[in-house]
């Protein structure tokens, strides 16, 4: 049976179609989920895509966090459902307290769009097991509020428990603490990532196909589960 992976569309989501396409290319069945529905339609995992949910009014991800679909996602993530939040999805995960910390305005105030080199630090999560630990990849990055911050104690815990999933290499594009590009929860089923792996899954449209590993990782995890 093919794994079914849900992609939530919020009002203002932009990258839901790209995420669905990446899931299809990885060999799974993408399932479109709507922000107003509480039902996750029996999916095996959920992707919260990039964009500007609810216009990013108030704060990025602050209103999306209280959407009906997120009530179920938060509940199920606590029970082990794999969830990947990309960019705005990462912001929603932080606002939901599924991940600690927050994403703040880029330190230079510019919206940035570039091909970003990363190092995959933790390949034991549901979404990164197709990579080698320490593997360097290049995938697009595009955001205005991508600076990861948290208090000193949380940072120490994240670093100590190996919960920094990916780190920026060569350049820190937004002032993120410790060059953090992505983190995971304690169980490793919830991952937040600022850059966009779903835009690097085909040679025609991406700088690389390095992003595909996030989506093949979840397949591997679900097959082995």
């Amino acid at each position: 049976m093919t794994a079914r992976i849900g992609v939530v569309t919020f009002p203002g989501s932009l990258d839901d179609r790209d995420a669905q396409r990446a899931i299809r290319l990885a060999g799974a069945e993408p399932v479109a989920l709507w922000h107003r529905d509480r039902d996750l339609r029996g999916v095996d995992a959920v992707v919260l895509p990039g964009g500007f949910s609810y216009g990013d009014y108030l704060r990025c991800g602050a209103i999306a966090r209280f959407s009906p679909v997120m009530e179920t996602v938060i509940e199920q993530a606590g029970k082990g459902l794999p969830v990947l939040g990309i960019c705005n999805g990462f912001q929603i995960l932080c606002e939901s307290h599924l991940l600690p910390g927050a994403l703040t305005r880029n330190n230079h105030l510019h919206f940035i769009c570039r091909d970003q080199k990363l190092r995959v630090e933790n390949n034991r999560t549901a979404w990164t097991n197709a990579y080698e630990a320490g593997q360097e990849i290049v995938i697009p990055l595009k955001n205005g509020e991508g600076g990861y911050v948290c208090d000193a104690e949380t940072l120490k815990r994240l670093e100590g428990e190996g919960r920094v999933v990916a780190r920026y290499l060569d350049v820190n594009p937004n002032g993120s603490l410790n060059d953090i590009a992505g983190i995971c929860n304690e169980a490793g089923n919830v991952v937040g990532l600022m850059p966009h792996p779903e835009h690097a899954v085909e040679p025609l449209t991406g700088p690389t196909i390095d992003g595909l590993g996030f989506f093949t990782s979840i397949l591997k995890r679900l097959v082995n589960a």
Binding site: L58, R59, A62, F66, C94, E95, P100, G101, A102, T104, R105, N106, N107, H108, L109, G147, V149, C150, D151, G175
Partner: protein, 85 residues
């Protein structure tokens, strides 16, 4: 009825690049003597009842839950006089 104001500010230890940009602009405009600028948000809540302790406790809950992200922001709640027209 009452008006309650919630002021939300980034915590002092969180970098405020918007405030810094405004600070830079003030200097370029020739305004001297400002050593720092930080930018926040102000919410005005019109309530249909009086601003008693129970109501204020509820407003603090609203601030805690939605209006502020207490990971990076702090907030203050105060009652504002409503001048009847």
């Amino acid at each position: 009825m009452a008006r309650v104001v919630v002021d939300v500010m980034l915590k002092p230890e969180i970098l405020d690049p918007q405030g810094q940009a405004i600070h830079g602009a003030l200097k370029r405009l020739g305004f001297e003597g400002v050593t720092s600028v930080r930018q926040g948000k102000r919410f005005e809540l019109e309530l249909d009842g009086p601003a008693d302790e129970a109501t204020l406790a509820q407003v603090r809950q609203m601030a805690e839950r939605l209006l502020a992200n207490t990971v990076i922001e702090e907030f203050q709640v105060r009652v504002e006089e409503v001048t009847s027209a």
